[in-house]
């Protein structure tokens, strides 16, 4: 069904798209803002309504959008009975909450923000309810945690709001992480991340050895989200949110996400002893404890919060029982709880709004002052208590009936008693909610004199209260079809068990339990005052304090770890890094033995032996003589030269050319830097530290050497054969290394020249900052050592570099041009030309040379990247992918046949970027010298023979003075 799937996908998107609007529309006024929040919700609800008949008839609607198929992550949606129920609840409640919040929020609250968050949350919840892909579901799951964080902390000025938001995010976020692991295990067992596939493989999952870990991890996610014991503590603290948020998130939707997940996974996870005992026990404990605490809460919203905890426990327990009938009851109770609890939250919000307090002990007698609110609250609370003929009564009766037939921990009685006690507390706190708020004598010390709110605020709770009564009176008519559809989805299809939604089920065990609960509840309320005193005296574990201690402990531990390992001294990071790498390598070697050696060792000719000894000696000397920095620089360049020679010998001419030219530039760079660095490294580290570092270094070196030796003597099948075979045919060049750079792996090269260009610009920017920062003061007062050469620009050097310049440039061009077929190419050519230019700088000074420069180095980098990029993009014109190269052979007399390739244009980009970046870097460094008071010479050389000799002598004398 094409149109259906399209509708479904659009429906999921609508809240997200709509979320952009309220933030903007708030300028048009609060009514417009609320209106524009309602529009996407209403549209989505209409779409849902269009899809509903098909679902009710037992069908499903799916929408598949491929996203990352390689990871099994697709934006697949499917709508079945359960999804329909939840989507309907989310959207319907969303509309009511939008209406209610319009009147609830005051003019000072940023309402646009509120509605944006609300729609984000709504979209995330909707996503959870219709996701077909569990990875996608996880994404939406985390989105609800994030958006609820924003909503709970909406009143940013309240510390409780911020703390509550943090706690909710921590607990539900941590649970979400556990659930990700569980879902991944589940996906691995089945081999698919699609829910519709997973749901078909229940037997396989339950038989898997990973069933229990997956179950526990997924339940952790569900229990934290649905505030099950012992994770229930975050929900009451989340009550710092504005009441519309509490009504929406914390009674109707988000906290039910855990229940939804358990229902969704019911066909595959339920039915085992582990499921039964874990889920039903946790649910039952939560139900009783939540109800008990609710009885002694004075804050109206806290009372409702714990009552929600208790009811969520009830739902969890029902799903945990694992029978089909219990699942049906759970579905029915989800609907009923939504109606009465949201109405109660809204009434509590109205009371708070009108009297400016939520403290039950300061309220009472409101029934005559705000009759409409009282009527709504009484109806809803009686339903919560399970009084006929309201809907809460029915689902509670069915729950008790179901419990009465269950063997739990070896008998019927424990669960019957506990469930009855839970129901009894529930009756007591429901009665207290209305009794102590609305009835009793009218007081004269309300913080604010109350009266009924504007009709707009009453509409939403009023509608819900009507539903409470309507479902109670005509359950099969109103709730029957959706309960049937959703239940069928929960139990995984097939025949529904026999049940009937009606008020009177005859005289059965549930009736007696119910009567006991109501009577007991009334007695408890009557005894509330002394009980309350006793409760206050009893020491109880305070969840907030415990949570804060855990957080503080974690912060302390983390700080200790960070300050120990990450204290700002780079030598510590590096030693940790090296030791960790060696240890990891060691651990990796434990896995399997070394591979068999299949290669013969190559002989070592005497010359290579000499080179090896030289390298080793230079390396050793570098280490032992590193305190004299100039000398070390020479030693290091010996090593570099030997490495280049090694590349020549081992058939890598391109590498040798690159290495030798890079080394040249590097040494120049280091020399420039040494100008302003200390010339000697003082002996600071104690002997013990040097020995420790030496041991680390030797172990690291030995490990790398062993690794290299081991793989050098084993064969492998490289992918390079492809490159060798296609270099000429496909890339038009015989120098395979160059063809790989500009063609096969052109994208990599493109990235690398961009990085190099960025490095050059970074250097320029850093130098700019440095010269304008505190360092510039030190630079201006710089005194150069007295033993400096006074012949800074010697005649011989100036003349030699001038002569060399065109030759070097010619060599550079030659290397560039032949690069495609012989060793060479853009990288090497760029370096060679920059060396030729740098020689001019060295000979005549930077300032002198800079004045004669025609091109800006920044621009050169930019042009290089642009040319390379345009060459790559040019391939699009030919209908080929980015950076596909083309080439052809041409003959123009009197030349020989020659080749033109687009790759050469790309290489030109490489050339320009390399040249520009290298020159920019060295130019930037040289700027420091002039800042430090280096004289700018106007002549190309210090002693110009064309000037008269005596004038030169005179000038010399002047210098001395």
């Amino acid at each position: 069904m094409v149109s259906g799937s399209g509708l479904l996908a659009v429906m999921v998107m609508l809240p997200f798209i709509g979320a952009l609007v309220p933030g903007l529309m708030i300028r048009a006024g609060r009514d417009a803002c609320a209106m524009f929040t309602a529009v996407p919700t209403l549209l989505a609800l209409i779409f849902l309504g269009i899809l509903a008949p098909e679902i009710m008839a037992g069908g499903t609607v799916t929408a598949k959008i491929e996203w990352l198929p390689a990871l099994g992550l697709n934006a697949n949606f499917f709508l079945d009975g359960l999804g329909l129920l939840f989507a309907g609840m989310i959207l319907g409640m969303g509309l009511l909450i939008t209406l209610y919040a319009r009147f609830y929020l005051s003019g000072e609250d940023p309402m646009g923000q509120f509605y944006t968050y609300l729609l984000l949350f709504q979209g995330a919840m909707l996503g959870i309810s219709v996701s077909d892909n569990i990875l996608l579901l996880l994404v939406f799951w985390e989105l609800t945690s994030l958006s609820s964080f924003l909503l709970i902390g909406y009143w940013k000025h309240l510390p409780e709001g911020r703390q509550g938001a943090r706690m909710a995010l921590t607990v539900t976020g941590a649970g979400g992480l556990a659930m990700i692991a569980g879902m991944l295990i589940l996906g691995n067992i089945v081999g698919s991340y699609d829910l519709s596939v997973i749901l078909q493989h229940g037997d396989e999952i339950r038989a898997s050895e990973y069933y229990l870990p997956a179950l526990i991890l997924i339940l952790l996610g569900a229990f934290t989200k649905s505030a099950q014991f012992p994770f229930h503590f975050w929900l009451p603290h989340a009550m710092a949110a504005p009441t519309p948020v509490s009504a929406y998130l914390h009674s109707a939707t988000m906290v039910k996400a855990g229940v939804f997940l358990m229902a969704r996974m019911w066909p595959v996870l339920a039915g085992t002893d582990e499921w039964f005992y874990i889920v039903s026990t946790v649910g039952l404990i939560t139900m009783v404890i939540g109800a008990l605490i609710a009885l002694f809460k004075d804050d109206l919203k806290a009372l409702l919060a714990f009552s929600t905890v208790s009811h969520l426990g009830l739902l969890t327990m029902l799903l945990g029982l694992g029978t089909k009938l219990a699942a049906v009851v759970a579905v029915f109770h989800i609907i009923n709880h939504l109606t009465f609890k949201a109405a109660l939250f809204m009434s509590a919000g109205i009371v708070d709004h009108e009297t400016h307090t939520r403290d039950i002990k300061r309220l009472g007698g409101l029934a005559s002052l705000m009759p409409a609110t009282a009527l709504i609250a009484v109806v809803a609370a009686l339903s919560m208590a399970g009084i006929p003929p309201l809907n809460g009564f029915m689902s509670k009766e069915m729950m008790l009936e179901e419990v009465a037939h269950t063997d739990w921990w070896g008998g019927k009685w424990p669960i019957i008693i506990l469930a009855t006690v839970g129901a009894l507390f529930s009756v007591a706190y429901s009665f207290r909610f209305i009794g102590h708020t609305f009835f009793g004598p009218v007081r004269d010390d309300y913080p604010h004199h109350p009266h009924d709110p504007p009709t707009g605020m009453l509409l939403a709770p009023g509608f819900l209260a009507v539903l409470v009564v309507a479902i109670g009176l005509a359950p099969s008519l109103i709730a029957g079809p959706i309960v049937a559809a959703a239940s069928t989805a929960v139990i995984g299809g097939g025949e529904l068990p026999y049940y009937s939604l009606k008020l009177w089920h005859g005289v059965n065990p549930a009736l007696f339990m119910s009567i006991a609960a109501v009577l007991g509840g009334a007695v408890l309320l009557w005894l509330h005052r002394p009980l309350d005193k006793a409760w206050i005296r009893t020491p109880r574990p305070e969840a907030k304090a415990m949570f804060d201690r855990v957080v503080a402990g974690t912060v302390l531990g983390t700080r200790w770890l960070i300050e120990g390992t990450h204290n700002g001294a780079i030598s510590r990071y590096l030693s940790i890094f090296v030791v960790a790498t060696v240890l990891l390598g060691f651990a990796a070697f434990q896995g399997g033995g070394l591979p068999e050696q299949t290669r013969e060792m190559l002989p070592v000719p005497p010359l290579v032996g000499v080179g090896f000894v030289l390298t080793m000696l230079a390396t050793l000397a570098t280490v032992f003589a590193h305190r004299n920095r100039f000398r070390t620089l020479i030693l290091v360049s010996v090593v570099g030269l030997m490495v280049s020679a090694g590349f020549v010998y081992l058939s890598a001419p391109d590498l040798a050319m690159t290495q030798i030219s890079v080394d040249t530039v590097t040494v120049m760079l280091m020399l420039l830097a040494l100008h302003f660095l200390p010339k000697y490294t003082p002996l600071e580290s104690p002997l013990s530290m040097r020995i420790r570092d030496g041991v680390i270094a030797v172990i690291a070196g030995a490990a790398v050497a062993a690794l290299a030796y081991s793989f050098l003597l084993t064969d492998m099948s490289p992918i390079s054969d492809y490159h060798l075979a296609n270099s000429y045919k496909g890339g038009g060049g015989t120098n395979v290394v160059n063809v790989i750079l500009v063609d096969f792996r052109g994208y990599d090269t493109y990235g690398e020249i961009v990085v190099l260009g960025i490095a050059g610009l970074t250097l320029y920017a850093l130098m700019e900052a440095l010269l304008n920062g505190p360092a510039s003061r030190r630079l201006r007062n710089w005194t150069f050592p007295p033993d400096r050469s006074r012949d800074r620009h010697p005649l011989m050097m100036v003349v030699a570099t001038r002569v060399m310049m065109p030759i070097a440039a010619l060599v550079g061009v030659y290397i560039f041009l032949r690069g495609h077929n012989m060793p060479g190419g853009g990288f090497v050519a760029g370096l060679v030309i920059s060396i030729a230019l740098l020689m001019q700088y060295m000979a005549s000074g930077f300032a002198w040379t800079q004045e004669r420069k025609r091109f800006e180095y920044h621009a050169m980098i930019g042009w290089g990247v642009i040319i390379a990029g345009l060459t790559g993009a040019g391939a699009w014109l030919a209908g080929a992918p980015f950076l596909t190269s083309a080439f052809g052979y041409f003959t123009i007399p009197p030349f020989e046949e020659f080749e033109l390739a687009t790759a050469m244009l790309f290489d030109l980009g490489v050339f320009l970027t390399v040249l520009g970046a290298v020159m920019l870097m060295l130019y930037s460094l040289s700027r420091m010298a002039r800042y430090a008071g280096e004289t700018v010479n106007l002549e190309p050389m210090d002693y110009d023979p064309s000037r008269r000799v005596d004038a030169a002598i005179e000038a010399d004398k002047k210098d001395d003075a």
Partner: protein, 115 residues
């Protein structure tokens, strides 16, 4: 030959690591240079060693060395130059601001120095 190359890599790594753990910026940069040599040779060597068979297509050639690691190392050499340059400048900056080029200054000590 393989033993020679492996020893060279190991020696360069050891020297590089030792200098990397020194307390001044300049030896650290030199250590990084040596370590770069080691890593580049190591990467290059993953194509296995061969003498006299450069990867330049020729009808007379009987074998070629592995071109792919060479291409990778070529760009690595150029990039590491860029990184060295940035590092040198950072070292220069901190040396000019604090008067010496120590690298083991902790954040606390730094904060006091600034104040």
């Amino acid at each position: 030959m393989e033993l020679v190359v492996a020893t060279t890599i190991g020696g360069l790594t050891a020297a590089g690591v030792y200098l990397l753990l020194r307390l001044r910026a300049f030896p650290v940069i030199l250590g990084l240079t040596l370590l770069t040599y080691a890593v580049n040779v190591f990467l290059f060597a993953t194509g296995r060693l061969a003498v006299g068979v450069p990867p330049v297509l020729d009808d007379a050639a009987t074998a070629y060395s592995d071109p792919l690691p060479q291409a990778l190392v070529l760009t690595a050499i150029v990039i590491s130059f860029g990184m060295t340059a940035v590092l040198v400048l950072i070292a220069l900056g901190s040396a000019l601001e604090s008067g010496d080029d120590r690298v083991d200054v902790t954040e606390d000590a730094n904060g006091e120095g600034d104040a």
